[in-house]
């Protein structure tokens, strides 16, 4: 780097060529006032607050955009500069209301701070803005009387979010920030990420929930990780009087994944922590089984001692009467790594069985099975930050803007700044289609066919990476034979994707320098889920698009800690770090560490435990933080099975649909009340830090498990979650080098991180696959388990929406999210709606062979032809009353993404 020397306020200082004057000043510890500048946005020099005096220059120059030249003489606080700044500030005050005393922003407002610093007389002007304050949306208030027209919100929406909702309108005194035609935000394409709110320097944009809850200087701030999705955004929780006032992402240097960005859930959806519905005391069933109403009325408050004694007694009793195999546990993708570790240890060492699993079964078990087979490791191969440098991104089975909002921002960035070609293969017309080079719409459940078709084209046209195949992979000949049958024309018949589009997609993916493949539940949740995953791996290996930065096969994991729950062994076949229970050496290692004999047999999965319960073979179940009564397929069946259990204990923060089926309900704590770690979808282990004290009698989740263990005769004691992490590191090679201290220092470590010196592994399979050679698996297309017929002529596919999460137990208890999207719907294409005679907004019945629900029709061209879509978050119209419980033969994942339904007008 070339060095330059400049004179800054009379002092000679060294700097790098290309640095702006502002950067140099900051480096020297001189703070310049800025209003329109932000390190996370492109510079514009709109406000001129940062002007400095440069010797020889005719006018003052804005420091934020001007690079320093060698020998430049700069004065940052000369009289001339200070006077100019004061004038700019006074001009701003000419229209700005003088109400700092009651403004929520007070204490964090740049305008206020600089006005104080520069001694501005704020009372000179009378001609103030007269805008009406807009509080029409559920999330944030827009008070343009306080707007200083810095344009940060406009640029945030453009550069960070890529939505371009806002721009300047009008001119002169009337200039203001506006949506097109001043439409309310809810009628624009605003997604309420609030990234504009985070960057606004004044009180013009403010979170609604925070009004009246405290001033900036009163907050205690705790840096922690979002409890919603697998992106793993971090932010500061601002707390006053043990209540969360807001999530603040402005300290962007501490947020490696998301910088200043958050999505609507992370920024505005944390109200659930203080929901009235939170469980505060242990509850026990007080009515005889026959008289149960399956509501909280059936329960009485009891002491912890009584509840824990009873749980231990009943579990012990079942164990001694029916053997350990009659017991099982559902761990949770929402709780911390430490809690998952303790839970699986409890099931294995105390209950004595490998019947432990969690909801990953329902979303990504086929990923774990498929990618482990192909590569030797079942996780995202590359990191989120690499996406922006991709030349081609293939997204399939993922409505990324809704399910992984922050990852979608990286995809948008790649398209916009790196000329990246985006290929979307999705049955629905998802938002990403709008910025794609190619959008292909396959029939749901036909993924193996189009993936094989792409490989057919690549091989036929000689575009495969033969060197990579020869050196690093095995099984190629088989694959070649199998895909030979999948000509684009044949694939068109199966999938509906035009042959030429498929050809083009294949060429782009194969010939781009760095192609990344992203998928999610649209690939995994099928009876052919494992085959689908294997096919994505085949494609990546065929083109050598793996093992380098910005390439790879990247399954986006849904829940905040679903990666961690898998990593820490909440799976029936492996201990922490995917160490097989069937390997005698491993078994011995854990027997020695835990001091008890362990079961060498693979346990039951979530889906098989439900099955076993309905057959009466599974008698007792411990569920921590899961809500299978909304999320499991074929709910009617799951409900019967759970009701059949002799004993069910549910540990949760809410009385969920599942909790009210339990004999005992134990109140755990939310993410804000605990310390621990989550592992996000890119394998990055990050810290969760306790921001508030638990209220009522809520207990730390790991402590509850330890108490039950103790009462069942097994000593399990940890002084903190950190102590648990030490045990994890000692027993889990891939987490070997992970300590709280290191995470805090590095901002998160991606596993494998085998020792304390290891920097973590952003992308996998660099020179060699985890399993040695990459394995091609020749797979053939099979029809989905359920096809449409005359009676059920419509294909239903299910999924998530941006504003809600999972069973909705958190998001639906957060006021703004619930207010914005209070109930579910079914998306119907205009064509199908016309055939059915259904109008937008009308109530319709949707029925499958397993059940029926009534919900509102939304006629939209987001869905195509006879495919309909239902978001699964809404218990009162649960999509999973309809879905098919048919399982993938390998991973035992249910086919949520395809089932046959019929739709009729309600009452008709």
């Amino acid at each position: 780097m070339e060095k330059i020397t400049v004179t800054l306020n009379g002092k000679k200082v060294k700097a790098e060529k290309g640095m702006t004057i502002l950067e140099i000043a900051e480096q020297q510890g001189i703070r310049l006032p800025t209003l329109c500048h932000s390190e996370v946005l492109e510079p514009t020099a709109a406000c001129r607050m940062c002007v400095v005096e440069v010797e020889g220059a005719r006018a003052l120059v804005p420091a934020c955009v001007n690079q320093a030249g060698d020998g430049m003489k700069i004065k940052t606080h000369s009289d001339k500069v200070v006077r100019a700044r004061r004038v700019f500030l006074e001009l701003l005050w000419s229209a700005h209301p003088n109400d700092c005393t009651v403004c929520e922003k007070s204490g964090a407002c740049d305008l206020q701070e600089y006005s104080y610093e520069y001694g501005v007389d704020v009372s000179k002007y009378q001609d103030k803005y007269q805008y009406t304050v807009d509080g029409s949306n559920p999330y944030y208030v827009r008070d343009y009387n306080k707007c200083i027209l810095c344009g940060k919100c406009i640029r945030a929406c453009d550069e960070i979010q890529g939505n371009n909702v806002l721009d300047f309108a009008n001119r002169g005194f009337d200039a203001m920030v506006s949506t097109p035609f001043k439409l309310p935000l809810e009628e624009s394409n605003c997604v309420f990420c609030g990234n504009c709110v985070a960057l606004c320097p004044t009180g013009a944009l403010m979170e609604k929930e925070r009004y009246g809850k405290g001033r900036e200087w009163e907050f205690e701030r705790t840096h922690t990780t979002c409890p919603y999705c697998g992106c793993g955004c971090t932010f500061d929780l601002c707390v006053k009087d043990n209540k969360i006032v807001k999530a603040d992402s402005t300290d962007f240097k501490n947020n490696p994944v998301n910088k200043t960005a958050l999505c609507v859930k992370g920024r505005f959806g944390l109200g659930f922590v203080h929901s009235e519905d939170r469980l505060d005391y242990p509850l026990m069933l007080k009515v005889p089984r026959e008289e149960r109403t399956y509501t909280l009325k059936d329960y009485k408050k009891v002491s912890w001692k009584k509840a824990l004694d009873y749980v231990a007694e009943r579990l012990s009793q079942i164990k001694s009467e029916h053997g350990p195999g009659a017991l099982g546990g559902f761990s949770s993708a929402r709780t911390t790594n430490e809690e998952n570790y303790v839970f699986q240890k409890f099931v294995r060492a105390v209950l004595g069985t490998n019947n432990v699993d969690h909801c990953a079964r329902l979303c990504h078990s086929s990923t774990v099975a498929g990618l482990a087979k192909a590569f030797g490791s079942g996780a995202m191969t590359n990191s989120i930050g690499e996406l922006k440098d991709c030349d081609c991104i293939l997204v399939t089975g993922s409505n990324t803007t809704a399910t992984h909002p922050i990852i979608s921002l990286e995809i948008k960035k790649a398209v916009r700044n790196n000329n990246c070609k985006l290929i979307v293969v999705e049955p629905r017309n998802i938002d990403l289609c709008a910025i794609s080079t190619l959008a292909l719409h396959q029939r749901p459940g036909t993924d193996v066919a189009w993936l094989n078709g792409m490989m057919n084209v690549i091989i036929a046209e000689g575009l495969q990476n033969q060197e990579f195949i020869d050196e690093r992979c095995e099984g190629y000949e088989e694959l070649k034979k199998t895909v030979a049958a999948y000509t684009p024309e044949k694939v068109e018949e199966i999938t509906g994707i035009p042959a030429d589009s498929l050809r083009e997609a294949a060429r782009i993916y194969a010939t781009s320098e760095k192609s990344s493949l992203i998928y999610s539940m649209g690939i995994t949740q099928h009876t052919s889920g494992t085959d689908n995953v294997l096919s994505t791996a085949n494609l990546a290996m065929l083109c050598g698009q793996i093992g380098r930065p910005s390439t790879g096969v990247n399954p986006l994991r849904g829940q905040n800690n679903v990666q961690g729950a898998c990593d820490l062994g909440a799976l029936p076949n492996v201990y922490s770090g995917y160490q097989p229970v069937t390997n005698p050496d491993i078994q011995k290692k854990f027997e020695e560490a835990w001091g008890v004999p362990l079961d060498p047999n693979i346990g039951l999965t979530v889906t098989l435990m439900i099955e076993a319960a309905s057959e009466g073979k599974l008698k007792g179940l411990y569920i921590m933080g899961e809500n299978p009564m909304v999320t499991d397929p074929d709910l009617n069946h799951a409900e019967e099975a759970l009701k059949k259990l002799d004993f069910l204990v549910v540990q949760d923060i809410f009385p969920t649909e599942t909790a009210v089926l339990a004999d005992v309900i134990l109140p755990g704590v939310s993410f804000a009340e605990k310390t621990g770690t989550f592992t996000n979808t890119e394998r990055r282990v990050q810290l969760v830090r306790q921001a508030i004290e638990p209220e009522g009698q809520r207990k730390q989740d790991y402590a509850i498990i330890c108490e039950v263990a103790k009462r069942m005769g097994y000593k399990m004691r940890y002084s903190s979650q950190e102590a648990i992490m030490r045990e994890i590191a000692a027993l889990t090679p891939s987490y070997g080098g992970i300590t709280y201290k290191r995470i805090a220092e590095t901002g998160g470590l991606a596993w494998p991180c085998p020792d304390k010196k290891h920097p973590g592994t952003p992308y996998l399979h660099k020179d060699k696959f985890a399993r040695g050679k990459g394995l091609f698996s020749a797979v053939d297309y099979r029809d989905p388990a359920e096809m449409t017929d005359d009676e059920y002529p419509v294909i239903l596919t299910t999924g998530r929406i941006l504003e809600h999460y999972h069973s909705g137990s958190m998001s639906r208890r957060s006021r703004p999210l619930d207010e914005h999207v209070p109930s579910g719907w079914v998306e119907i294409s205009p064509k199908l709606a016309a055939e059915l005679g259904v109008a937008d907004g009308e109530m319709v019945n949707v029925a499958s062979r397993r059940g029926a629900i009534t919900t509102k029709a939304r006629v939209t061209d987001k869905v195509i032809n006879n495919i309909v879509f239902i978001p699964f978050h809404f218990a009162e119209a649960a999509a999973n009353r309809l879905t098919n419980g048919a399982l993938d033969p390998v991973a035992r994942i249910p086919e949520y993404k395809v089932c046959a339904v019929k739709i009729s007008k309600n009452g008709g």
Partner: protein, 157 residues
């Protein structure tokens, strides 16, 4: 409407630089910028809808409502300003019940302001359908407008 729009758009390149000529042409075509044309214009020029709106509101020559049968322009140029253009404008606005840039509900009048019509000697000035009315006082301004309204009615009968 979409067809007419397509035709206009077809004459221009797909570049942000063409935005202003496109807006002008669309306005010539429809007499104003209908809200329904915004999506098409944005897509064609490759800029966000918010930008189209921003640009269109920046320049006073664009309007989002059809002109009234009578088009009133009040001058706010320097000469008119010093001789009380603001008062004239205020009166006209109150009389018509609309702000500048708007059209009365019955479609009778639309109101705009301009900077200097070039008749400074007559200041303060307004034009109605290109006819200049000078040396206005608030009263004479409203009286003038009333004349146009009645003239219309008589014609209509």
């Amino acid at each position: 409407m979409q067809e007419r729009l397509e035709k206009v758009l077809g004459e221009y390149g797909r570049s942000p630089a063409d935005l202003i000529p496109i807006l002008q042409h669309v306005q010539d075509e429809f007499g104003y910028l209908p809200q329904e044309t915004m999506d098409g214009i944005a897509a064609h020029a490759g800029v966000p809808k918010s930008k189209v709106y921003g640009v269109a509101t920046f320049y006073t020559m664009f309007r989002f409502e059809p002109l009234g049968r009578n088009h009133v322009c009040v001058c706010r140029g320097t000469a008119c300003h010093v001789r009380g253009a603001d008062q004239i404008l205020e009166h006209v606005q109150r009389h018509l019940g609309i702000e500048e840039g708007e059209t009365t509900e019955d479609g009778e009048f639309s109101l705009e302001t301009v900077a200097c019509i070039g008749c400074c000697a007559l200041a303060p000035v307004m034009t109605v359908n290109q006819e200049v009315h000078g040396r206005l006082k608030p009263k004479t301004a409203t009286r003038t407008l009333k004349k146009y309204a009645t003239a219309d009615k008589e014609e209509g009968q």
